[in-house]
Subunit: 175 residues, 4 copies
C-alpha cells in the first residue's frame, strides 16, 4: 500500500543519518547544550543534555529544516547549484542569511528564550562549531553550523523549562 | 517559603482567567480551529478542538504573551498609557504591528504551517473575531483579536500533526 | 580582478531572471498587491504596485531567499534531491513548512503588518497563485507560490507606509 | 483639523525621548555597534555608527516596539501591572521571553544576519548593557536592555550592507 505522504519514521531517520553522515554526533551537540546550560542547572549531566537533543530532533519541523539545510550544503560541495547561489553558499557569504533564517525556525519552536544562546555560541565558535567553520577542508557547512547551534540552543531552552518544573515540584530544594 | 520565581500554576491560571475576563470562552477559540481544520480532518469534533486549544494554552510562552497583550488592551481601555502609545493602540493603528508580532510568537511554537491559517481567519474576521473587532463598544481588543486568532491557528497546526500520526498508526484507514 | 564576494548586481539579476524563467512576471505579483491594497488606497494604480514589487526585489535578503527557494523547486522537478526531501517537496507535504519559513523572512523585512495579507492570499489562491498551485502540470512550485505571495504582501506593506507618509504631507486631502 | 491617525513625527519624537528618559544616549547604542562591526569594516568611525543607529530609529516598526517595551518597563517600575505579569517583568524571569520577541522584530527588519550579533552582545552584557542589567538600582529595564541590543545589532547589519555597496563601487580598494 502506498501512503499519500512520506512516513514520519523515514523523515526522522533520514534527519539523524544526515547529521551523522556530515560528521556530527549527538554528543557534539549535547556538549554545546551543556556549555550553555550547566551554569544555571546544578548537577546537569551530559546524559540529560543528550536526551534533550534527542527530543528536539524528534520534532518534525526540526527534521524538515535539517534535511533541507544539509542537502544544500552537500549540493554546494558537489558544485551542483546554479550560479550565483553556488558561490553564495560556497563562500558562506556574510550577506547570505538563509542559513540563519532556517536556524531561527528551529529555535522558535522552543520559544524566544534561546535566541541569545544561539547567537552566543555561534559567535564564540564553541566546541564542534569550530570544526564546522574550518574553511580549509573543502567541506561546505554553511547551513550545518547554524543548524547545530540552533538545535543545541533549543535543547538548552527545553532543559530550562524542565528544570523549573522540577524545582516547583520539590519546593524543599529551594533555599 | 517564598519562591525566587512566579509559580507556573499562577501564570497558567492568570492567562486563562484573563481570556474569560475579556469575554472569550475556550469554545470561541475552538470554533475557529474547527472552521480551519474540519475540511482536512474527517469526523473532527468540537471536543477535540477544545482539547487542542487547552494544550496550546498550557505552553508557558503562550501564557506570557497572552498576559502581556491583554494587559496592554486593558490599560489602553482605562486610558493609562502614555501618549502616543495610548492613541496607537486605542485606534488599532494600521501601522502599529506589535500585536501581530506577539501573535506570531505563539504560532512559531507550532512551526510554520499555521502562518497562513492565522492570516486567513484574521482577514475574514471569522466567528468571535468579528465581535472583538467591533469598534463601537468602547472595548479595546487590539491585541486580543490577534492573539485569539493565533491560538486558534496554533491549535489547528497541532491537530494536523496529530492527525498524521493517527493515520500512520492505522494504515488500513487510508485508501 | 576577482572579487572576494559575489557582485550584488549578479545576485539581483539572477533573482529577477529566476522568477521569469519560472513563468512569473512582475505584473503577476503586482496584481496580487493591487488586490490587497486597493481597498485602502484610493486611486492606487497598477504602475505603483509594479514599482513597489520592484523595490522589494531590490533587497538582498529577498533575492537570496528567492534564489534558494526556486533552486529547490527546480532540483525537485528534475528529481535530483535525496529521499525523503525529494518526496516532501514534490508532494508539497502539508507538514513541510520550510517554504513558509522562507516566505516569512521576506515579510519580516517590511515589518509585521503584512503577515495577515500573506496568509489571506495564500489561502484564497488569488491570481497567479492558482496557476502555481496546479499540481497537474508536472511543475514543482512548492517554494515559489509562497515566495510570490510574500513578495506581494511585502510590496503591499511598503505601499501602506508610503501612503501614510503622503497623507501626512498633504493634510488638506484628509476629510 | 484632526488626523484620523497619530502623526508619524510624534511617534518618532516620542521613541527617541523615551530612550533618553531611560538614560540611553544614541552614543551608548552606537558604541555597541562599533564593538560589533569594527573588526569587519576598516576605518569605521563612531560617527558612522551613530548615523546608522539614527537610521534604524527612523523606522516606524522600531519606534512602535520601543514605545511598547519601555512603557511596560516603566509601568512595572511603578508597580502598576496586574499580578503575575508585574512579578514576571520585575524579576526579569528567565522563562519570560516577550522581551526577546520584541527585540527580534527589530532585528528582522534588517534581515537575518544580525541574529548572532544580538545574542552575542546580550550574553556579554557589553557596554551600556551592563548598566541596564544592574538589578540593584530599583530600575526595571527588562525590555530596554534587549531592545538596545537589537537596535545596535540592526545598525550593525545595516553598516555591513552599506560597506559592501561601497566596496563594489570602488573596486580598486579591494586587494
Amino acid at each position: 500500500m502506498e501512503y499519500p505522504f512520506v512516513p514520519s519514521e523515514d523523515v526522522e531517520q533520514a534527519a539523524v543519518q544526515a547529521l551523522q553522515m556530515r560528521g556530527i554526533q549527538l554528543e557534539d551537540i549535547a556538549q554545546l547544550t551543556y556549555f550553555l546550560q550547566s551554569p544555571y542547572i546544578p548537577d546537569l549531566t551530559m546524559e540529560e543534555c543528550v536526551g534533550s537533543v534527542k527530543s528536539v530532533l524528534r520534532k518534525r519541523e526540526v527534521q524538515n529544516t535539517l534535511l533541507t539545510g544539509i542537502e544544500l550544503d552537500i549540493l554546494t560541495e558537489k558544485g551542483q547549484l546554479s550560479a550565483p547561489l553556488q558561490q553564495l553558499i560556497q563562500k558562506d557569504e556574510s550577506l547570505y542569511g538563509v542559513d540563519e533564517v532556517l536556524a531561527l525556525s528551529i529555535l522558535n519552536i522552543y520559544g524566544s528564550i534561546g535566541f541569545t544562546n544561539y547567537g552566543y555560541i555561534d559567535k564564540l565558535k564553541q566546541g564542534v562549531l569550530e570544526r564546522l567553520n574550518d574553511k580549509t577542508t573543502g567541506k561546505v557547512n554553511a547551513f550545518l553550523d547554524d543548524l547545530v547551534g540552533a538545535i543545541a540552543a533549543a535543547a538548552s531552552s527545553r532543559l530550562a523549562h524542565r528544570y523549573r518544573a522540577e524545582l516547583e515540584q520539590k519546593p524543599d530544594t529551594l533555599s
